[in-house]
């Protein structure tokens, strides 16, 4: 057993080798993703994030190097690609476009059925999955196409949760949703992680969401891993992040400005809640947290 959920060992991948569109999607990437926490992956479009994700469950195989799931290389005798696909649940971007069954129940049950589970087990898993994503059992008999965009997204995520993957990987789970929809989806994932202890890996462009929900961050740029550290350490590198087309959470520039003006404020503040507590301490001499 390994204490790491997924390990990349000197992984490289190229698209269009021998054509004018040759592109190094991943360039000697090595790092270990810890078990039982939420790890965020950030990087601009084309930085290699999606290639990285598709390797985590064997959908893509590296041209060089190895990808290990809990210490076993994908494609080795110890871990076939099929087994990797069952262990690592992958939720694509805009997964609602992949719904296809007549009812929500059948759509969520599709994966467990293919796994060869019994009917009762399938029923139990579908109900559990729909609860995890915050929908009521009433929607199970509806057609997925009657639902709103946000609801369809949850059904698609429920389909992956019903497989009870040991590792859950999500590509931009909140893309295109409004602020409340974002908070709900991220809240569901966060609570699911806390309750089940599943390892969760999330790609997102929202630094605010990453600051709030992730523990560690991996930063990609041009196919290379630039940083892999705690959220605090990563967001303290504002210049580096901006130089590769990324950002820091909206509150961070305010805190940096206050420090520059000479206020004795903590520097590692990346959420509004943290900023409020720290400022109340400084301005009122104690928290009045309501």
């Amino acid at each position: 057993m390994s204490e790491y959920a997924i390990s990349f060992r000197d992984v490289s991948y190229v698209y269009g080798e021998g054509t004018p569109f040759f592109k190094k999607a991943l360039d000697h990437v090595s790092f270990d993703i810890k078990e039982g926490i939420i790890t965020g992956i950030i990087g601009h479009t084309g930085s290699g994030k999606s290639t990285l994700l598709q390797m985590m469950n064997g959908l893509l195989s590296p041209h060089k190097g190895q990808v290990l799931v809990k210490g076993n290389a994908i494609g080795s005798k110890a871990l076939s690609k099929r087994d990797a696909a069952f262990q690592v649940g992958l939720v694509f971007q805009y997964p609602e476009y992949q719904l296809f069954e007549e009812t929500v129940f059948k759509d969520i049950a599709y994966g467990p059925k293919n796994k060869g589970l019994g009917e009762d087990e399938i029923k139990e898993r579908v109900k559990e999955a729909i609860r995890f994503v915050g929908l009521s059992e009433d929607v199970l008999e509806k057609s997925p196409f009657e639902l709103s965009g946000g609801q369809k997204r949850r059904v698609a995520i429920a389909g992956v949760l019903a497989m009870r993957p040991e590792i859950l990987v999500l590509d931009e789970p909140a893309a295109g949703l409004d602020p409340r929809g974002r908070t709900e989806i991220f809240g569901n994932i966060y609570n699911y992680q806390k309750r089940t202890g599943t390892t969760v890996i999330i790609v997102s462009h929202s630094m605010e969401d990453m600051a709030r929900y992730a523990e560690e961050l991996a930063v990609m740029s041009d196919g290379k891993l630039m940083m892999h550290d705690t959220v605090r350490k990563v967001f303290s590198q504002r210049d580096l992040l901006e130089s590769i087309g990324l950002d820091v959470p909206g509150i961070t520039p305010v805190i940096e400005r206050l420090r520059a003006l000479g206020m004795p404020i903590k520097e590692d503040i990346f959420t509004v809640e943290e900023a409020r507590e720290e400022l109340l301490r400084l301005l009122k001499g104690g928290s009045t947290h309501a």
Binding site: H44, A175, D178, M207, G245, G250, V254
Partner: protein
């Protein structure tokens, strides 16, 4: 005086065999020529329906829409008037991959003016100008499929600019982009509005983007909930949060501090100003204590 876009008593419902769903209820709005108006609302609030009505993709049940003197809401709108409307008002949608038609960037940009029957020499001139304006001249002969999301959106905008529009409607045109793609597109939007005087209607649920506008209109449940300058609208933090929207983190921070009894104003949308207000208050209280 009537604005460039004039909406009076506008109502619209989606109907199918079984049910009727009201999307917009008695909307009244005047949008001045040359202004930059952001329309905010959660998913399903009716904001995209409004955009479709403005471009005559949908016809209202009740009320009147006039755009640049053309009565868009008229169900009997002539073919010529419709063509003239689509020349004057350009629309950019969310998914960059759904709105490019050609295999070469400059051909895509030429598509609109070609359909207007403009002579080839003039088309060439307009295409070159539009590409330069969007900063994508160097990709003129590239395949759109090889561009980033932000670049694709700029190609789509260039294609509309080649028709010399008076107004541009952006329907969540940045929702699928990464932070640098968003910045790229927003810089373009500002340029069109401030330098060329094009009337801009920007539909979004990104608060930073809405804060760049001259005026923010918040739509909820098919009705206008708030309408004012960004400062006025973003001072209503509780109202916005109650309808599933959010505010910028600096606005939220001062709001929360004010709720804890500190004398900070609502509706601050500038990070620098936010830091200055906190610092000034800190200096005052520190002095008072001495």
């Amino acid at each position: 005086m009537a604005g460039y876009i004039s909406i009076r008593n506008l109502s619209f419902s989606y109907k199918d065999d079984q049910k009727e769903q009201q999307a917009l209820k008695n909307i009244n709005l005047e949008i001045e020529k040359g202004s930059f108006v952001a329309v905010l609302g959660h998913n399903g609030s009716g904001k995209s329906t409004l955009a479709k009505l403005l471009s005559a993709i949908l016809v209202p049940d009740e009320g009147e829409i006039v755009v640049g003197g053309l009565k868009v809401s008229d169900p009997e709108l002539s073919e010529e008037d419709l063509l003239e409307l689509h020349r004057r008002v350009g629309m950019v949608f969310q998914n960059p991959d759904n709105q490019l038609v050609a295999t070469v960037v400059e051909e895509d940009v030429a598509f609109g003016p070609e359909n207007l029957g403009i002579e080839p020499k003039e088309i060439r001139r307009r295409v070159d100008e539009a590409l330069a304006l969007m900063g994508i001249s160097e990709y003129a002969r590239h395949a759109p499929s090889k561009l980033s999301g932000g670049q694709k959106q700029r190609v789509a905008i260039a294609g509309l600019m080649a028709m010399l529009p008076e107004c541009m409607i952006f329907d969540e045109a940045t929702a699928m982009l990464d932070p640098s793609g968003r910045k790229e597109v927003m810089a373009t939007v500002l340029k069109l509005n401030k330098e060329l005087g094009i009337t801009v209607l920007h539909i979004t649920h990104n608060m930073e983007e809405a804060a760049m506008a001259d005026r923010v209109v918040v739509i909820d449940d098919g009705q206008v909930l708030l309408d004012g300058t960004p400062e006025q609208v973003f001072s209503k933090v509780q109202t916005l949060q109650a309808v599933g929207l959010d505010v910028m983190q600096c606005t939220e921070l001062l709001h929360e501090l004010a709720c804890c009894g500190l004398p900070f104003p609502e509706g601050v949308i500038d990070e620098e100003q936010c830091a200055r207000l906190i610092y000034e208050y800190y200096m005052k209280t520190v002095k008072d204590k001495k």
